[in-house]
Amino acid sequence: MRNSALKVEDYNSNIGTTVAPKDAKLSMAHIYIAFSAFLVGAIAGLLQGLVRGGMIELPNWLGYYQILTAHGVLLALVFTTYFIFAFLFAGMSRTHGAFSDRLRKLGWTGFTVLTIGTLLAAILIILNEASVLYTFYAPLTAHPLYYVGLTLFVVGSWISGATLLGHYFGWKKAHKGERTPLFGYMTVATIVLWIIACLGVAVLVLLQMIPWAFGLTDEINVLLSRTLFWYFGHPLVYFWLLPAYIAWYVSIPKIIGGKLFSDSLARMAFVLFLLFSIPVGFHHQLMESGISEMWKFIQTVLTFVVIVPSLMTAFSIFGTFEQTGRAKGGTGILYWLHKLPWKDVRFFAPFMGMIIFIPAGAGGIINASFQMNAVIHNTLWVVGHFHLTVGSTVLLTFFGISYWLIPHLTGRKFTPFLNRLGMVQTWLWAIGMFFMSGAMHLIGLLGAPRRTAYTTYQNHPDALVWFEGIFTNYVTIAIGGVILFVAAVMMFYNFIYMTWLAPKGDTEFPISEPAEDASETPKVFENWKLWIGIAIVLILFAYTIPIYDMIVNAPPGSPTFDFLIK
């Protein structure tokens, strides 16, 4: 896997500049699965776009909701999770030194369990036994083994997470009193967030859905199941976003030849994400009965708090750009922008992701706005929204990471050819997304539902307008989808190229030097017990009373409905 130029002795002596070869192997194992899932998920996405536009019909053996489930699971869960662990394993090895053999073994165990879960779920989706979409809302019922697959997926991710935590706290123990490297700090925030979030889905699947799907219990408390899902579902999106932020804070400053703007502000942003991204799940349930207006509003307020660290990030990252541009001789109010490396895809792809995060974030604020949610709830607007957040901001950043992470791990060179491919890929992705997501947002405002196969609702005029607009048209979505698919195939080729075809050599894993103010970062940031404690208090505050009410005052439950999905 690794270029022979890097000798075994480098393993320990070169801590802090490369990923240890054995760790690189673990990281690459994740990358293979991530990009395989990415390709299949992208094909499913293309088919959906064409079906909804009324341009093609699927063969009898392939259902629309089956490929919709595959698309969501493969891209939103499998690609993201595998890529995130690839990035975090490699980054922790790069910044905290090689993993011990014992910990690495644990990392491989996590990978194995994760993969068994993924395969089990994939088989059931292929068999059309699990067309419940990636949210698997009860009382629609998938094959019981599908839930077992999801459980293994979560357990695997916990084992991998424990590996990363073990490495960080091992480092901390060996370097008493030292400030931990920013990469490790952010990794811990991300993993702790993930573990706390997954408690909700663990309770949901283990205590509610598995006994019910296997027939051990007759009924399920639907509202409780949805609440547990969204307790998990919102921090899930931050689990996607935070690794992208890690790259923005830790790697991008190095790539543009600068230094992070502020260490303490970066750490504070991550603490705020940990505290406020969990007790906010009700903003996905604003339109449903059984939860009182007051609790919905309380969680709406908490949702708005979690916007603040993203506002801080906007300033920190752009401030880093400006300071770097000026240090390189840039002048004027904005003329220094010319000093940024616009032709370097390692900068440009994540930068495009940052720019797209502006409409994505604005849309998110609208979505969370309490009664205003009625305008967009479950319409195509929402689909447009998360294709900007996770589908563009996060993915373009992950692509940007790939251009140095994969060649670094495989001992190959980041070549000008690859850079050109990457630039074209980034532009195609952004243009495709402009058409697809733009049209989705607007058709959503006209009432077009999400997660719905081709239909004109018996040629009802309110539905026909979705097929008649110049831009607000399902065909626009399909065109955007085709462009995105071309970009996805290109990205898959880039992965192949970086893994097996690029010339052998070295590519740097960029990690920025600590910010100038790093020495002044308050010690309290390292006090994880404190932050986890506050996070738990906030969760208990936001959820205890409504969940108690859901259990004590529950209506009779619902039986399984597995026949509706076949």
Binding site: V222, M287, S289, K296, L311, A374, P556, F561, L564
Partner: protein
Amino acid sequence: MHLHRYEKIWLTFGIGSLVIFLTVLGVSAFAFGQQPPSHMAKVDPQNVRDAAPFDEPGLRQINETTYQANIIAMAFTYQPNKIEVPVGSTVRFHVTSSDVVHSFTIPNTNVNFMVTPGHINMAEHTFTEAGSYLVLCNEYCGTGHHYMQMTIEVVE
């Protein structure tokens, strides 16, 4: 920890905007009653037709201009699947599900709420223009989800 002066300006503006948004939403919800649909009434989802009001699904007139529509959502239709009201009527929709999760959504209005089994949800709308209004389900409910619809005829 040190905040740059410009960052203070930015965060003040940003957080200030968020506070204003929340105030506008909170006042219009709690003082003027524009609440998100959060009805607390419950029902036995396996026997929704056993008790009022869903033993007789349909439209009921409450006063001169106000109606109550009791509607059962099910895979993959609504019962009844057509109602007719005069223009200017205010209709109170009471909807529950006899099977899985659905929605009750009228495009181009603010009527767009979830229908979860075991619960009754409701919203109110005044139809000021005549015409045929589409109602659709925008929560995936199974293989026939995209056929699930009804119409509201608003007549002169």
